[in-house]
Amino acid sequence: MQAERKTLDDRNKMTDLERLRHSCAHVMATAILRLWPDAQFAAGPPVENGFYYDVDLQHRISPEDFASIEAEMKKEIKANNVFERIVVTREQAIKDSDSGRLGGLGERPGNPSKFKLGNLADIPEGEAITYFKNGDFMDLCAGPHVMRTGNIGAYKLTSVASAYYKGDEKNPQLQRIYGTAFKNKTEMEAYFKMLEEAKRRDHRKIGSEMGLYAIDTEYTGPGLPLWLPKGGAILEELEKLAKETEFHAGYVRVKTPHIAKEKMYLTSGHLPLLYKDSMFPPISLLEENDRARGEQLTRRKFAIVDELVKLKHEGESANPERVKVLERESFEIGLEQDALGERYYLKAMNCPHHHRIFAAEPRSYRDLPLRLAEYGTCYRYEQSGELFGLMRVRSLNMNDAHIYCTPEQFAQEFNAVNEMYLKYFKIFGIETTGRRLTCRCGASSAASSRSPPTRWTSPSRAGSGWCTGTRITPTRRRCAFTGRRWARMRGSSAS
């Protein structure tokens, strides 16, 4: 999806390099028009490592065309044309789009700037409509730009991809030409050298050359790495190190199944909403005839939970009657679901399982702190486009631990965990600038209100209180399950 439209304020914050790169996108458009005058341009923003411009053109641009486009760009930069800002009225802009003048070198009768018309419609009333013009090329653009085309010191086209206009698949498909630009040649060379180095160190390359792991998309499935013996050796050694370290630090090891009933995730709050998209679809043990009824019940239950959450946000006392009715219905649905059969989910996190271990036996404060640790295999349904070697996968082993402690024990436990991390980082030569502790301090999102707020006694005050004696400074942030370990730590000690 395309990012939301930049506000003028965002635009003013563009760095010098972004201005340069965006200007280079205009220069590239100029060059493409010199070669293919009927090209229609859509959007050409700077991006993380360069810029792109989306173009609609009969000719399929390929990397073989880059040299000729770059040659035309060179002429435009040599000409050192000024980027001239022109303020126009909306009527004028529509007229110039109709005539094909916008995103063109001149008027192009019969070839209106259709995408520019669409972009124009996105500019809110009252915001200035501006053109930027370099040489013959005139474009609808809010800027900002560098002063002259000659300010672009070094540039290179890098790749071509396809994209939908405004990121919507219902819109026409465009060619997206990527390039990058720098103030000077030295900086650009350093950038490409860095890319080469990254390529050389790419774990996917090393992984297959050394026979560490394989991803068999056809039979095992994408994102589900198979560890080959040599990779397995690395894995085993890492686990051994962690097991020894944690044993030394007083952790006890547990082992939990890879699946769990839906009820567990409804209780933890991962379902129905928060984590739904990251979990594999459920394994249903419902009989064929009961499946439709089962689906219906689940959908109703999700709706009830949503409404309850909404009601609780408005305050417990807002509508106590309705809350009671909903809770009653939810309970009855649960009974019917139990009678029908079960739905199981592949676990995407170990936390709820560990909490059931905590709940499996009567606990006394004397058992605290209780430190549970496991190498838990988790499954997450990452989008296929997000899968990347071992960095983004659908099955992963988490060296996971949960600590159950009293508020008084928090500082000591926290510091011990912190020390352990520092020890690992030192062993592996990982330099870190900071870590983030996430807790439910003052959490107000729908996601974090699953546990009744009453269980969190003055959450934010308690939170900062517990941080006394640790080396952390509390900052308020939304509770996220990426910080789950800390969030859970609080939850357990407050209960």
């Binding site: 050394m210 040599k230 050796a233």
Partner: protein, 98 residues
């Protein structure tokens, strides 16, 4: 770690296998290359697979109860008595030395 024989003749191969067994009994990931390829080729192959420690054994080493040690990134460290080398390997594993 890998034990490499110079040639594929007995009793050299049995001697090499004995060393592999001894190390594996101590949970050291040892494997053998007992083929009749040229020793330089075997060493090169082990280097490419980034084998940490190579023990190269010829009939003369066997007669002297010795092994030649090569460590990845450090090269040939020369011949040493077998018992000494095994003890050294076990110690470096225990202490997680590089």
């Amino acid at each position: 770690m890998r034990v490499l024989t110079i040639g594929d003749e007995e009793p050299l191969v049995s001697y090499a296998k004995g060393i592999v067994q001894e190390l594996r009994a101590h949970m050291v990931r040892a494997e053998g290359d007992y083929g009749n390829d040229k020793i330089n080729g075997k060493i090169q192959q082990a280097e490419q697979s980034k084998v940490h420690t190579m023990l190269v054994i010829g009939s003369r080493d066997m007669a002297a109860g010795a092994v030649s040690v090569r460590v990845h990134g450090k090269g040939n460290l020369g011949a040493k008595p077998k018992a000494e080398v095994v003890a050294e390997i076990l110690a470096s594993v225990r202490e997680r030395r590089a």
